[in-house]
């Protein structure tokens, strides 16, 4: 399994801004091809959603993608089965994003092992805040899976170092007050969050939630080490954009970030 933090640090040291596109696991027959296409397009890691029935941190697009995926019979087992070997083959680490009940139901230790066995490098559980993350984070550490924590604009200053100390792989800076979904502009809080986090940690700081196009990604990366892009990609996919065209879109974001 690829070490998420080492992989991202190496890319950052090489002067690169980090790009993490998102794919809803089990969305359609070609979802794994989409993961490969994003890897080819220059992603530094790929976030794969395991659909959950009640995604409270997600806006309409990811909700819809989750409903579609669940409607096709997608389960954590099927997503992890499909992902087996993909990260090794592409050389790009995979981070799953899901909600805590799927881990709780399986058992923290068993779920972490299942991720590790599928070659998954990390996990983001947005309904598991610092105070509740203990048992999961320990299980993830032991399985070698990076437990990525989120930091939000509402956090008082003294909370941020605690979040960063417990986060593995990178720290996820929530760009705004709100759930996932496209926005016409980058929130003013996005770079503020990145700055506040950069001031207290050496972990890679990636901004996510609401990053909706290449220009916003570039703007966020003026301060942040990288960005996570989700809703825009899944909206295009739900609208019928082909794997090739969506890969090309991610490649265009890559170029924009490289050109600064």
């Amino acid at each position: 399994m690829i070490d998420l933090e080492a992989h991202l640090r190496a890319a950052r040291s090489a002067g690169r801004k980090l790009l993490v596109p998102y794919v809803s696991g089990g969305l359609d027959d070609e979802w794994v091809d989409l993961v490969r296409a994003f890897a080819d397009a220059g992603a530094d890691a790929i976030e794969v959603g395991i659909p959950f029935s009640d995604p409270v941190m997600d806006g309409p697009t990811i909700q819809e993608a989750s409903v579609v995926a669940l409607g096709r019979g997608t389960t954590p087992t099927s997503v992890l089965h499909d992902l087996r070997g993909v990260a090794d083959e592409t050389g790009v680490p995979i981070v799953v994003m899901t909600y805590y009940n799927l881990a709780y139901r399986a058992g923290d230790v068993r779920f972490a092992q299942q991720l590790a066995e599928a070659g998954v490098s990390g996990a983001i559980l947005p309904d598991l805040p610092l105070e509740e993350v203990g048992p999961w984070a320990e299980a993830a550490d032991r399985a070698g899976v990076a437990s990525v924590l989120l930091a939000a604009p509402t956090a008082p200053d003294e909370r941020l170092p605690c979040i960063c100390a417990r986060s593995r792989g990178f720290v996820y800076a929530v760009s705004l007050l709100g759930v996932t979904g496209e926005r016409t502009e980058l929130a003013a809080t996005a770079t503020v969050m990145a700055e506040r986090l950069k001031a207290v940690t050496d972990l890679p700081v990636l901004v996510g939630v609401g990053i909706s196009n290449a220009a916003q990604a570039v703007e966020a990366c003026a301060v942040a080490d990288g960005v996570i892009m989700a809703s825009v990609l899944m909206r295009m996919r739900l609208e019928g954009t082909s794997v090739t065209d969506l890969g090309a879109y991610v490649a265009s974001v890559r170029r924009a970030l490289d050109e600064g």
Binding site: F52, D54, V56, R105, P126, D127, P129, E132, T154, A155
Partner: protein, 405 residues
């Protein structure tokens, strides 16, 4: 905290404060997006301070008496008692303003929201009872109010949607998932994430992240405290059994709280067979806490199905899971057909049309009447049935449920 209840020496209180992480035994906690953690912590501090403040308690008590109609009656249902062979006392929360127990919680939380300087309250609703109560409290206290309601429920309960709008609230359809109560909670939480600085989430039951399960139970504790004293006055002693319906579990928690430390009083929660989280669920994490939950083998939350929209919820408040775990309370499922029978029975024998929710509680009493023979039973009549009359008419005219009519 200024509480007057007897405390068992040496033992930690039954239905006292949860531990510092918001847990009742292995249930509860604060499983929310990071964005909401400071708001939950602020709410916990504000509630703790307010609840210890005689000024706040006095203000809430005053509103209860002058606006909501407290204390509610404890009524001896003589004809039905005779028919069932037991002594049935009904705690008449249906006579409160807005027609259910919900007013106790919304007045408490709306006062607290004002105290915290919030100008807006967000609420979720299933049938519309909590939405109407929230809109009422917001109108009374001059707060803005937005209610999230599943699109399916909005169609089923169009009159309540109109009521909320009359009261000045904005009603927003929840368009995702099953488009019922569980999705309304999801939408309300998302709205709170986006507007947390200005808004208070006025949650409608003893569920959600800490401090909600504790706070909402404390706001409903008045039901149990009144009932205990009224029962002593009326019968010279304590009841043998206290029965309440359980959706999220707020009316049950409120009445149980008055009796939890009287070990000889049996506490019974009654759930719909299609949403029996406490009796048939598996521990899970959704909507902010660990609790018994209807879910599949992978942890996907299942949809509940009940004739009563107010109980149509796949989870249950964490304290009920703990009470079930420790055996202090028992939880039993009843079917829709049994509930409809009980609904008609109370109407015919006592001239009281109950909400379908609390007809669940009565349905269990009817079924257990042999084992309860001669006992004193207090049932929480959590709401009036006006909202359900049209639906029941429709069901009965269509031949009833499973041949029952």
């Amino acid at each position: 905290m200024a509480l007057s209840e007897p405390t068992m020496p040496g033992a930690s209180r039954v239905m006292g404060e949860p531990d510092p992480t918001g847990r009742f035994g292995r249930f509860g906690g604060r499983f929310v997006p990071e964005t909401l953690v400071p708001a939950c912590a602020e709410l916990e501090r504000a509630f703790r301070t307010a609840w210890a403040d005689p000024g706040f308690r006095g203000e809430l008590d005053h509103l209860g008496r002058t606006y909501a109609g407290r204390p509610s009656l404890l009524y001896e249902a003589s004809r039905l008692s005779e028919e069932l062979g037991l002594r049935l006392l009904l705690k008449r929360e249906d006579l409160n303003h807005t027609g259910s127990h919900k007013i106790n919680n919304v007045l408490g939380q709306a006062l607290l929201a004002k105290r915290m300087g919030k100008s807006h309250v967000i609420a979720e609703t299933g049938a519309g009872q909590h939405g109407v109560a929230s809109a009422t409290a917001a109108a009374l206290l001059g707060l803005e109010c937005t209610v999230y309601m599943g699109e399916v429920d909005m169609a089923r309960q169009a009159l309540n949607v109109f009521r909320m709008r009359l009261l000045g609230a904005r009603v927003v359809p929840a368009l995702s998932g099953s488009r019922t109560l569980k999705d309304a909670v999801n939408e309300a939480m998302r709205a709170w994430v986006a507007d947390v600085e200005r808004s208070h989430y006025l949650l409608g039951s003893v569920m959600g992240p800490h401090p909600y399960p504790w706070m909402v139970r404390e706001f409903h504790r008045v039901i149990g405290d009144e009932a205990r004293e009224q029962c002593r006055e009326m019968t010279g002693g304590d009841p043998d059994v206290v029965v309440a319906c359980v959706g999220g579990g707020s009316n049950a928690a409120g009445i149980f709280a008055g009796f939890a430390e009287l070990p000889d009083v049996r506490l019974i929660g009654v759930e719909p067979a299609g949403g029996a989280a406490a009796s048939r669920g598996i521990p899970g994490v959704v909507h902010g806490s660990v609790s018994f939950l209807l879910q599949d083998e992978f942890g996907q939350v299942q949809e509940a199905h009940s004739v009563s929209a107010g109980l149509d919820y796949p989870g249950v408040g964490p304290e009920h899971s703990h009470l079930a775990d420790t055996g202090r309370a028992e939880y039993h499922p009843v079917t829709d057909a049994q509930v409809l029978d009980a609904f008609g029975l109370l109407a015919r024998t006592e001239g009281i049309i109950p909400a379908l929710e609390c007809a669940h509680a009565l349905s269990w009493i009817v079924q257990e009447r042999e084992s309860l023979r001669g006992q004193t039973v207090i049932m929480n009549l959590s709401g009036r049935g006006d909202k359900d009359v049209a639906q029941v008419q429709e069901i009965l005219e269509a031949g009833g449920i499973g041949g029952v009519s």
